[in-house]
């Protein structure tokens, strides 16, 4: 079964695959900043060169008890448990937008601590459960 031709093809293929994996690894590595769908508040605090005129996305968790609604304007704080970023937004929010849940805001940075969003996306986590169970869990916590 293992004739010379077979060996030749096998080694050609393994070389091709190794080469491909290395190439894809480097391509993905150099594109990391483009692949990231959103930046975390920590990324923004740590980065040196922020372009304030360019649209970016910031993501994290909506801080508990931070949502403040007055006159169609919604203010809340995005946190990644290390750094925080205040966000201001006017418009409709998706149904899943709520305190303690993931959120992605699209818009422009005003300074390192203040962000004006023109689009809000809710980020869903990987947990799925029926509503009765959630109520039970809430009761147990209390």
């Amino acid at each position: 079964m293992l004739t010379k031709k077979v060996k030749k093809r096998a080694s050609f293929l393994s070389l091709l695959l190794i080469f491909l994996i290395i190439a894809v690894f480097f391509i993905l590595k150099s594109l990391t900043s483009n692949i990231l769908y959103f930046k975390s508040p920590t990324d923004i605090q740590l980065s040196q060169d922020i372009i304030f005129s360019k649209k970016i996305r910031v993501g994290g968790m909506v801080k508990k008890n931070s949502i403040n609604i007055n006159n169609k304007e919604i203010k809340f704080i995005i946190t990644d448990l290390k750094h925080e970023l205040a966000v201001s937004y006017s418009g409709t929010v998706p149904n899943l937008f709520s305190e303690g849940k993931g959120v992605v805001a699209e818009g422009k940075l005003q300074d390192k601590n203040f962000f004006i969003a023109d689009r809000i996306l809710a980020k869903h986590d990987e947990k799925y459960m029926p509503p009765e169970l959630k109520d039970l869990m809430k009761k147990n916590v209390k």
Binding site: V6, L13, Y37, L121, A122
Partner: protein, 235 residues
């Protein structure tokens, strides 16, 4: 070893299998759909749109699994030149493309009520689009190249190159920040889906897998007939 899948010998087995799957398919489909659409509870956050998941997740799994098997068979075929494997990969490809597109479309339908957008160019979604492009290239190679040997060679190479994309899709949600949530069912078997929702998911997976087997066998049968028509006694 490869005698087991010798086309001329298993022809009547294929017939029997097709009839068997046909007889149980619709019963299972009705059971799975009842669980998925009526008996399972709505989600505590998403409400009824969680039911889209029962089609979306199995479709995505099947899309990935089909391409992985096409690529692995292509590697075998490229090294050992077993012509029969070409018939199998050729039969899997349209199914895989269909389920990949189904996963993308249902994901988009789910994204609108939950995320608030139809489309996002995040790593998971983009890499799934790349997967569907690889499927299309694979199928086009067979359709456009007239010489069969050359078509087989080109499509094999396309599948092997596309294999690198598979781990990127799988781990995209862990490597980068994405809008898409990480997987609920981990490879080690733990899951963050409540059992009352896991059951319909697994039932739907079973039904869709049976559907795949059915279409695959029918397609494989036609490919064998096509070859027999060309009066080739042995392949």
């Amino acid at each position: 070893m490869f005698d087991l899948i010798n086309p001329s010998r298993i022809f009547h087995w294929i017939e029997k299998l097709i009839n068997f799957i046909n007889s149980i398919f619709f019963i299972l489909l009705i059971i799975a759909l009842t669980f998925a659409l009526i008996l399972s509870p709505p989600d505590y956050l998403q409400g009824d749109s969680v039911r889209i998941m029962y089609v979306h997740v199995p479709s995505a799994w099947i899309g990935l699994a089909s391409f992985t098997s096409i690529a692995l068979l292509s590697i075998l075929n490229f090294i050992f030149k077993i012509k029969n494997l070409n018939l199998i990969t050729k039969s899997i490809a349209p199914l895989g493309l269909m389920f990949t597109c189904l996963a993308i479309v249902t994901g988009s339908l789910w994204g609108q009520p939950t995320w608030g957008t139809w489309w996002a160019w995040d790593a998971r979604i983009t890499s799934m689009v790349v997967l569907s492009i690889f499927y299309i290239l694979f199928i086009l190679a067979h359709k456009l190249i007239e010489q069969e040997d050359k078509a087989n060679k080109v499509s094999n190479i396309i599948a092997i190159i596309g294999l690198v994309n598979i781990p990127v899709i799988k781990y995209s949600v862990d490597w980068w920040n994405t809008l898409h949530q990480p997987s609920s069912i981990k490879l080690d078997g733990t899951s963050s889906i409540h059992p009352s929702m896991l059951l319909p998911l697994m039932l739907m997976l079973l039904v869709l897998l049976l559907y795949c087997a059915l279409i695959l066998l029918m397609k494989y049968k036609t490919e064998i007939i096509r070859i027999k028509k060309k009066n080739i006694k042995r392949i």
